[in-house]
């Protein structure tokens, strides 16, 4: 019985010595360690040890019966095995309950500024924090309440701790009321009664540099009944540097000189530069280390993704034993989406859920002829057109039958059915049954890795749900979204482990490195704060208090890591090499500092190393000349349209290539987060009301401003209600109000017009024209309004304009042109001795198309409804030159024949509003190529 300290020496990898130590007293044959409890620092090191043992067995043509290989935490779990302790999630729920049900003003110091929103998620955050304090104290055998009984001199925030203790008291009461035991307290009490399984006859703790005080207590207790071997990965000459439990002594390691050659330490810029530095060492022709003999570690885990990318590009498979956080698994996303609907039951959340691949898979398999793309497109269409907010808005819209053949209704009904289940009593059961239904269409094969991972994750979800389903939590009446939050949180703190397929390259974390036996090692991210980690300042446990309580201090972390680094280097001194890479900044741009451990060297190296590791590192490199990887290549097998609208002609005038994208290819962006009417919808609403007005034979002859305004407002409101229901989106309401204001002013103008004898003759008149040109492409248009003056018999053709500023018809149609400008002939024209180019053909073409009906005394112009409503009014094209009609016709012919010949090139260099700027990058000439070879 009793404890014995063994020194392995550090001239070889720790697991070699460990295996030797473990099997030393075994005869040949089966390696039977089943009576051993082997304690190693991490799960990974346990696996490493088993591997080594298995390899040894392989050499001996046999197997290993491994006994228990565990991390120190096992001792605590074992101690509490028979108690009904409150699990993590349960404790958290209880904390949340305490925090939410307690009047915070009872704790004026602790919560001197109460949260703006004392809600579940606040309580969850605070609860987590409290739990972490409890567990940190618990590892050392303290509870929060204990602290209040301590010597007060050292204890500067006594009052605050008293409050904290009072709060903790409430929590403890809650735990006990629930018939449970609090984990930390129980551990502390149970640890001295700890028993191991009867078959265990010996305890071996190997290279564990920092067992928690509670674990040491356990071992102390166990050493009275079993032999306990403590193995240290260091030579016995270093015995002074360790305490009785193999822990590095902090006073000793502070000045220890770790022997690392300065040239093995490299400074690199960002994480990507660190990865590049690794690449130089192990890949390519100048490599200094053979990759297969080299392990790669990352003291800063943020370097790992870069390393993964690096090696993936070089076709080296990698493996991270740290696993992946469960929150990266798609199941997590599914549950998140479900939970979002519960906390914000809005269309957006439904849409997100419907876009989840699992849901789409379910729908595909459970609805006949289901199309994923159609469903997603329908979601966008409904969003774009109706901006639904609640689920009920969607139902209302769908009832109109606007989406014939859509599966949206079907899909939404299924989702809604699930969601409605949540309003029932039991959230956990509901989650299970909903997931059971969603996945009922999916078969898992045990031999398939992703299926296996799916199962692992599911199992974790189920076990968490079981914990949440306990009577304790049920009694707390946690709302459904709260249960979901707790589930998601539990998932976030858990990892899942993809398979190792064979010889992948491990990307190891710092604590895994001591158990790595590759001859060469590259350690990246060797920065202070990562190794050694340090805590400077804390909400509750600053260093001063930690030291007083005997919790782990910065000094201890330093000592441990100094020792580990030394052991890592020493075990390769004769057989391999250690290269260290230090980062200058992280990807967020924070400046990093080299690890303090790197300065455990003699005076002469110190200053050289210091000035080398503290210097500016700019990302220097060869600049890549700006090249364009490709130009957009268009399809030339397009069909020429049979009709073109007058508005489309304007598009051509603005830019032929963009005309091609818009009017020929019909490229249109959807799926933006629309929350208001776009300008064209805004205009349409105005137009709509005015059209109704123009068609109503009674009202249109009114000269009563108010009556007209009321009529227009009425039409407007009706239309808005039809589209958006009784509660339109706020912005649409404001827009509606803005339209109403504009219409009110239009009503004033209209009343004036009518009084002046102007009578509406026609509105929204469809007109078209094929003559006189020969392209067979018909030009079409809708003329907003034609008035006849009762007194003079004069005619006026109007177009309503709802742009921000009032517009002038002349400026809108033509622009002066300098001679040098390159414009196709049909776009330029001469009028009254000056050169112009067409900007729009609308009004002249209206003249032309209406020529049969309205020939004499015709004027044209705009009915402006601008945002400065005082400026509402008529803008007539003064002294309109009838020659323009002919000129415009020529231009229109030019455009139609260009379209017919598929001439869409060259594009305009600059357009005022470019809806294709995203893909043309503002420069169509540079980023696109002519759709068809230019026809002369």
């Amino acid at each position: 019985m009793g404890r014995k300290l063994h020194f392995f020496g550090w001239d070889r990898p720790v697991q070699e010595s460990a295996v030797e130590f473990l099997v030393s007293d075994k005869d040949s044959g089966l390696i039977d360690l089943s009576a051993d409890l082997v304690i190693v620092p991490t799960q990974h090191s346990g696996r490493r040890l088993s591997d080594r043992l298995a390899l040894l067995a392989a050499v001996k043509q046999t197997a290993v019966l491994p006994g228990l290989i565990v991390s120190p935490r096992y001792l605590l779990t074992q101690a509490c095995k028979t108690s009904r302790i409150s699990g993590k999630t349960q404790s958290l729920s209880l904390w949340i309950d305490v925090l939410l049900s307690t009047d915070l003003s009872r704790f004026p110091i602790l919560f001197s500024s109460p949260p703006a929103n004392k809600d579940f998620s606040w309580a969850m955050s605070i609860g987590r924090h409290l739990l972490s304090i409890q567990s940190e104290l618990g590892d050392n055998g303290y509870t929060i309440q204990d602290l209040c009984t301590l010597d007060h001199d050292m204890f500067e925030e006594e009052k605050r701790w008293n409050e904290l203790a009072a709060l903790a008291e409430l929590f403890f009461n809650r735990v006990h009321e629930a018939g449970l035991a609090e984990a930390n307290q129980t551990q502390r009490e149970a640890i001295s009664r700890l028993t191991l399984p009867p078959e265990i006859k010996r305890i071996v703790m190997i290279a564990v540099p920092d067992p928690t005080p509670l674990a040491v207590t356990a071992l102390e207790h166990l050493s009275t009944v079993l032999p306990v071997d403590i193995c240290v990965h260091a030579p016995s000459s270093m015995a002074d540097y360790f305490d009785d439990w193999g822990r590095p002594r902090s006073d000793k390691w502070h000045n220890f000189e770790t022997d690392i050659a300065s040239e093995n330490i490299t400074l690199a810029g960002k994480t990507v530069d660190q990865a590049d530095a690794v690449a130089t060492m192990v890949l390519g022709k100048d490599a200094v280390l053979r990759l297969q003999d080299t392990a790669i570690g990352a003291a800063d885990e943020l370097v790992i993704p870069q390393l993964k990318t690096l090696f993936a590009r070089n076709e080296v498979a990698t493996f991270s034993p740290q696993g992946e956080p469960l929150s990266n698994h798609p199941l997590f996303l599914l549950i998140t989406s479900l939970s979002d609907i519960l906390s914000r039951p809005q269309f957006e959340a439904y849409a997100r859920l419907l876009r989840n691949p699992y849901i789409l898979d379910y729908l595909t398999k459970s609805i006949d002829n289901f199309s994923v793309t159609k469903l997603m497109h329908d979601l966008d269409r409904i969003q774009g057109q109706f901006m639904p907010y609640r689920f009920s808005d969607v139902t209302r819209v769908l009832k109109k039958g606007l989406y014939p053949g859509s599966d949206l209704q079907n899909a939404l009904t299924k989702v809604e059915k699930w969601i409605s289940q949540f309003s029932g009593a039991d959230t956990c059961q509901t989650v299970r049954s909903v997931l059971a239904e969603i996945f009922s269409v999916r078969e898992l094969s045990i031999t398939n890795e992703s299926d296996r991972l799916f199962r692992d994750v599911s199992e974790f979800i189920i076990s968490t749900l079981d914990e949440l389903d306990s009577p304790v939590i049920k009694s707390l009446n946690v709302p459904a979204y709260g249960i979901m939050d707790l589930l998601l949180l539990a998932m976030q703190t858990q990892s899942y482990y993809p398979d190792r397929h064979g010889a992948e390259l491990d990307l190891l974390g710092w604590l895994e490195l001591p158990w790595e036996d590759a001859p060469n090692l590259i350690i990246t991210g060797m920065n202070d704060g990562c190794v050694p980690a340090s805590i400077v300042g804390d909400l509750f446990l600053p260093e001063k208090l930690r030291r007083f309580l005997g919790l782990k201090t910065n000094d201890q972390r330093f000592a441990r890591d100094a020792y580990l680094l030394t052991a890592i280097c020493e075990s390769r001194r004769h057989t391999g090499d250690v290269k260290i890479i230090v980062g200058k900044t992280n990807d967020a741009g924070d400046i990093l500092k080299p690890s303090r451990l790197l300065f455990l060297c003699d005076d002469s190296s110190l200053s050289e190393r210091a000035s080398r590791l503290f210097r500016p590192m700019e990302s220097m490199g060869e600049i890549a000349p700006r090249e364009i990887d490709w130009k957009l290549v268009a399809d030339s097998s397009i069909n020429v349209p049979e009709t073109i609208s007058v508005t489309a002609l304007r598009d051509y005038l603005i830019c032929p290539y963009r005309f091609y994208l818009k009017r020929i290819l019909h490229m249109k962006e959807v799926g933006n987060r629309k929350r208001e009417l776009d300008p064209s919808e805004f205009g349409s609403l105005c137009h709509y009301a005015l059209e109704r007005f123009g068609r109503d034979e009674e009202i249109r002859d009114s000269t009563d401003e108010q009556l007209i305004a009321d009529f227009l407002a009425d039409q407007l409101n009706k239309r808005v209600r039809e589209t958006f229901g009784s509660a339109p989106p706020v912005l649409v309401s404001i827009q509606t109000e803005s339209i109403r204001q504009r219409l009110e002013h239009a009503a004033r103008i209209q009343a004036g017009l009518r009084s002046a004898g102007w009578r509406i003759a026609e509105v929204e008149k469809s007109i078209s024209c094929r003559e006189p040109w020969s392209t067979n492409i018909m030009i079409t248009a809708k003329c907003d309004r034609i008035d006849i003056n009762d007194n003079s018999g004069n005619i006026r053709i109007y177009d309503y304009k709802t742009s921000d500023q009032k517009r002038c018809p002349v400026k809108a149609h033509m622009a002066t042109l300098s001679n040098s400008a390159e414009v196709p002939d049909f776009i330029r024209f001469e009028s009254r001795g000056r050169s112009y180019r067409w900007m729009d053909l609308q009004l002249p073409l209206y003249f032309l198309m209406l020529y049969g009906e309205y020939r004499d005394n015709v004027e044209c112009g705009y009915f402006n409804l601008p945002k400065a409503v005082g400026d509402t009014g008529i803008a007539i094209w003064d002294d309109f030159d009838p020659a323009l009609i002919e000129l415009a016709a020529t231009c229109a012919e030019g455009i139609t024949s260009a379209v017919k010949d598929k001439r869409f090139w060259p594009p305009a260099a600059h357009v005022e509003y470019d809806e294709y700027s995203r893909i043309l990058l503002g420069d169509a000439l540079a980023f696109a190529s002519s759709p068809v070879p230019t026809v002369k």
Binding site: L289, S458, G537, K593, D603, F614, I623, D629, V730
Partner: protein, 1084 residues
């Protein structure tokens, strides 16, 4: 020379005099002369880069000091520590390095975050808040705005109210695109609101016009006024043109309302009348209309005065309405933002400051920070920060904002008030480099803070000016002196000039050993040319000048400094086209190239397949062939994209598609870089957890990058960005685009602050048009001051630009137009430098460019040492590669478990079904019970079950099911036989784990039960029997064959393991499945 080091010092350090150097001097002095522990010193600056530079410099200088006693002495001299030796330096260096983690040289932001983290609960946030980067924050703001626009079930009051407020905020304007408008309100005004949320400060008549505002009180009968005026003014003497002008004016005045824009006809005369307001009021004024001067009668004056007052009144009332509306909108936003973002633990840097603000703004704690324990209305920080700062060093102090100062003010107060002499305060900056006003920097603090402590004749803070440059050579310094002497600046605004004069000191330099050159080149003004043509002409000269510099031969840093990003990027392209290798050092969007935009489209269709723009766009790119080659149809493509995004994030999708794309085309080096940046961005985004393609695209479109620096290229950057840097050669071709006299940007929201170190917002007002505000004394005064500040900052910027030059300074301007009133930096240069040098060649060869001024040696670069052929330090020779070892391949094997080889499929839905837990627990418990059985005959099964029931923690339902199943099984004859005690000597394993290597795979597993019959086999075993308990629900009559098939691979593996261990032939090892539900046993 060792001079005194004062306890509290402020250094105003001119450009190049080494602000960082001064700060590190101070730091080193504290540690080396006063033996101060580095932990007790806090040094704050603005950028992370600057912080790192300070620390690097400290370490570097110390390290240098360890090299020789001369070096140590030199250092000692610089930092005013006599007799410094190498030993001191090495000791100090070691101390510094051993407490890296406690070192507090950093940014204000990091210091504030640190405090907030350690006092989170006190500030009403939780401790695990995250700092979100500005891009994510922008996405969040949109999210909060979305929340604001949600509608309730009905058109509820809140909704209606919002509509009303919005109407107020856009008073008189029926806006169409509201969403952007709202975003811009929030973007531009949120911080103003946070600084001063009180209703009384926003558009409040009494605060803005404490002496009353005439336009707002008086009311007139406008029709009357107009009629009387007409009578006064429109007599026969009036020309037709003038009459027209007056009539339009009067017509517009009458029609004028909050709902109309100021029409040109109104503006024309208004702009003439407003400057004459005082005259009008006094009753005698002259007006110039159409080049004719008209003398107004006193009556006409009165009426005109009234009309102007009337118009101004309307405008002011409108603006007041708007101001209140805007405030309410922001208030609503803020309430929601506080809950959705801050309370949810997502904070931006500015949120952190807002929370720490000791002034009462409605957020945060309002308690000032303190290092004195025990004060009730203070937050005592030292204990929780594990720190005790005795010495404060603040860098670039002219850029400090009032908010930042408010947060630390009390801490500094305590330092300065400490009489023990053990605590010190030091700040450094240059009031001539105050160019950060646009982002909150308030240079007035620089003086105000010193004034605050130096009152009543006591100089607590010693002011030390430094005007000696370590950077620039004599000709550059001479030129700077000539240009920036107050006498040269006579044309600028008076207050700005006076301010400059106060801070100006003639510069000297220590750089005497290097030659240098400064020149001003002037391009003649071509009449009729536009300003773009002028820039072209200057750029041409610029390119020629650069080409003459000995780039390749010498290690020369050359920078072209410009004012705006827009100029910078187009100038860079211009230089490249003209054969100069140039790099633009501004931000570039990563979506500036076809590869990234195509990826954006690809990601778009993954969740929005109906986006025909994205889809057709892809079909116009090389992605098109990937799409047709690898996917059966659009549906399949979309499903696959969406799946990949959900499974591995956007970064995963991008990596995968790059590989696919590379099979189609060779991506250029540039495209490759952008892809790498896209990937980096994607990784950051993925970490946020969102898998929404829209969010991602929004993020990517805002994401920017910078070009790599390359020593052989010209660096083009903005003057703002050049601050703090120095270059061998600086070229300034962009000194002409904005006048320094008046701010060219209209003021949207005027924010009036009070004076002094405790400056607070007095009032906020949405400013009317300039014509109108000029009519109001208060607003006019505001604009004047604003323009003074603007002018001063422009001057600073110009100063910063010129002082970046070490050896060569080339300034290129266009001759100013005759009669131009505008004052550009170029004008100042001309004014100061023309006729100041004699060696001028009037015409240079290549163009009509004129060398207006030069000083120094035009061939200064001939004395530059040539770079020797790239002698890079070879990397240390690597150790010989060790002889080939089996390597990783032999160590890292695949790891399998026997239960993982079962050839079965299960329904995923069943995993979640309600009884899955029940069956899992049942399975485990049954196994556990059987594990206790050695031989059935010897076992007290009743006792066993009750013991088990006592110990285990499963639910009662499970317990009773287990009991039933167990008892049922052990009653079955097959089980009785299976577990009966054999006659021969037998070893038994129960629940035995094993590890073994089989076929190059690690197999680890666990046998339920194996019995070994002892005998004469090679290992003393004659036969073995493997038993595996199964708790499946099977029907023994129908399912056995299927079950056997299912479990065969597993049991075969067991058999192999036992064979390996015992050396028995396979036939000597029997494998049995024991089904506990039915008590059936089958042999495999």
């Amino acid at each position: 020379m060792v001079s005194e080091v004062y306890n509290h010092e402020v250094i105003s350090a001119s450009a190049g005099s080494g602000k960082t150097f001064q700060l590190t001097n101070r730091y080193l002095n504290l540690v080396l002369a006063r033996n101060i522990n580095p932990e007790a010193i806090i040094a704050l600056t603005f950028s992370r880069k600057a912080a790192s530079e300070i620390f690097d410099t400290i370490i570097d200088r110390l390290a240098l000091g360890t090299r020789s006693s001369a070096a140590a002495r030199l250092l000692g001299c610089q930092i005013r520590v006599p007799d410094l030796n190498e030993g001191d330096c090495i000791r100090c260096l070691r101390t510094l390095l051993s407490c890296l983690h406690k070192n507090r040289i950093g940014t204000y932001d990091s210091f504030f975050i640190w405090i907030l983290r350690t006092f989170a609960w006190e500030f009403g946030v939780t401790g695990n808040f995250r700092i979100v980067d500005p891009l994510m924050a922008a996405v969040k703001v949109q999210d909060v705005l979305n929340g604001l626009f949600q509608r309730g079930r009905n058109l509820d009051d809140a909704h209606r109210e919002f509509v009303e407020i919005f109407k107020r905020a856009t008073f008189g304007r029926q806006e169409k695109a509201l969403s952007n408008l709202l975003s811009s309100f929030v973007e531009n005004y949120h911080h103003i609101y946070l600084d001063s949320p009180n209703r009384e400060n926003w558009g409040s008549v009494n605060t803005i016009w404490p002496d009353g505002c005439e336009s707002l009180v008086v009311e007139f009968d406008i029709e009357n006024e107009i009629a009387s005026l007409k009578a006064q003014i429109l007599d026969d003497s009036v020309s037709k043109k003038e009459r027209e002008a007056w009539e339009t004016f009067l017509f517009e005045v009458e029609a004028f309302s909050p709902y109309t824009q100021i029409a040109p006809g109104l503006r024309y005369l208004l702009e003439k009348l407003v400057p004459k307001l005082d005259d009008l009021k006094a009753g005698s004024a002259e007006l110039k209309i159409n080049r004719e001067t008209r003398v107004l009668s006193s009556k006409a004056c009165q009426h005109l005065y009234n009309l102007v007052t009337h118009i101004v009144g309307i405008c002011l009332r409108t603006q007041i309405q708007k101001t209140c509306g805007i405030r309410e909108i922001i208030q609503r936003f803020e309430t929601r933002y506080n809950i959705d973002a801050r309370c949810a633990g997502e904070l931006t840097f500015s949120d952190v400051q807002t929370l720490l603000d000791p002034a009462d703004t409605g957020v945060g704690n309002c308690l000032p920070l303190s290092q004195k324990p025990g004060a009730a209305d203070r937050l005592y920080i030292d204990y929780r920060l594990d720190s005790r700062f005795e010495h404060w060093l603040l860098d670039e102090f002219q850029d400090t904002s009032t908010l930042q100062w408010r947060i630390i003010e009390n801490l500094i107060d305590e330092v300065v008030q400490d009489t023990s002499g053990a605590r010190t305060f030091f700040y450094v900056g240059d009031l001539k480099q105050a160019i950060h006003g646009w982002r909150g920097g308030d240079w007035k603090l620089f003086e105000d803070v010193a004034d605050k402590y130096n009152h009543d004749g006591v100089e607590q803070i010693k002011r030390i000016p430094l005007a000696e440059s370590y950077r620039s050579c004599q000709p550059v310094i001479d030129t700077v002196n000539m240009v920036f002497e107050p006498e040269s600046l006579a044309t600028i605004r008076g207050p700005a000039l006076r301010r400059w004069e106060r801070n100006w000191r003639r510069h000297t330099t220590t750089v005497h050993d290097k030659s240098g050159y400064a020149t001003l080149l002037r391009v003649p003004r071509e009449s009729g040319a536009r300003s773009a043509d002028h820039s072209r002409a200057r750029w041409q000269i610029l390119a020629e000048t650069i080409k003459k510099l000995p780039f390749e031969r010498n290690d020369l840093s050359v920078a072209v400094l410009v004012k705006t990003n827009r100029t910078g990027s187009s100038l860079t392209s211009f230089l490249r086209v003209n054969g100069v290798s140039a790099i633009w050092e501004g931000d570039l969007r990563i979506s500036d190239n076809p590869v990234v935009t195509a990826f954006v489209s690809l990601i778009k269709i993954s969740q929005h397949p109906g986006d025909s723009m994205a889809e057709k766009h892809l079909r116009m790119t090389p992605f098109s062939s990937v799409m047709t080659r690898c996917f059966a149809g659009y549906d399949q493509l979309v499903v696959s994209l969406n799946k990949d995004i959900h499974a591995g994030g956007f970064s995963y999708l991008i990596e995968k598609w790059i590989t696919l794309l590379e099979k189609e085309i060779n991506i250029t080096r540039f495209g490759r870089r952008r892809i790498d940046e896209l990937l980096a961005a994607a990784r950051k985004f993925d970490a946020s957890g969102s898998r929404s393609s829209l969010d991602f695209i929004e993020y990517i479109e805002r994401y920017t990058t910078t070009e790599l620096t390359d020593p052989t290229s010209v660096r083009v950057m903005t003057m703002h960005k050049s601050k703090g840097l120095g270059f061998d050669v600086v070229l300034l071709p962009d000194l002409q685009d904005k006048s320094v006299l008046t701010s060219s940007r209209p003021i949207d929201l005027a924010v009036r602050k009070s004076k002094g170190a405790e400056s607070r917002t007095e009032w906020v007002l949405a400013m009317p048009l300039k014509t109108i505000s000029n009519a109001d004394p208060v607003l006019k005064d505001y604009i004047e001051r604003h323009n003074d500040d603007y002018c001063y900052e422009e001057l600073c910027l110009f100063y910063v630009a010129m002082t970046r030059a070490k050896r060569g300074l080339y300034m290129i301007t266009t001759a100013s137009a005759q009669r131009s009133q505008a004052v550009y930096p170029a004008t100042l240069l001309e004014h100061a430098l023309e006729h100041r040098s004699d060696a001028i060649d009037a015409q240079s060869d290549q163009s009509e460019m004129i060398r207006v001024f030069e000083t120094g040696d035009p061939d200064w670069h001939h004395d530059l040492p040539e770079i020797e052929n790239a002698e890079r330090p070879e990397p240390a020779p690597a150790k010989k590669m060790s002889p080939e070892s089996p390597g990783r391949l032999a160590r890292n094997l695949k790891r399998i478990t026997p239960s993982g080889v079962e050839d079965i499929t299960i329904n995923a839905g069943k995993l979640f079904s309600l009884n899955s837990t029940f069956s899992a627990e049942l399975g485990i418990s049954v196994h556990e019970l059987f594990q206790h059985i050695t031989w059935l005959d010897d076992t007290d099964t009743v006792g066993l079950v009750s013991m088990w029931a006592q110990d285990c923690t499963v639910s009662d339902a499970v317990k009773s099911a287990v009991r039933g199943e167990f008892e049922n099984a052990i009653r079955s004859p097959a089980f009785r036989k299976l577990l009966a005690k054999p006659e021969r000597d037998t070893d038994l394993w129960r629940e035995q784990r094993f590890e073994i290597v089989l076929n190059n795979e690690y197999v680890s597993g666990c046998f339920d039960r194996v019995s070994f019959a002892r005998g004469s086999g090679p290992t003393g075993v004659e036969q073995a029997e493997i038993i595996d308990y199964k708790t499946d629900n099977i029907n023994p009559d129908t399912d056995l064959a299927a079950a056997k098939k299912k479990y065969r691979p597993q049991l075969e593996l067991y058999r192999k393991v036992i064979a390996k261990i015992t050396d028995l032939p396979a036939k000597k090892i029997s494998c049995k499945l024991a089904f506990t539900k039915t008590g059936t046993v089958v042999e495999i």
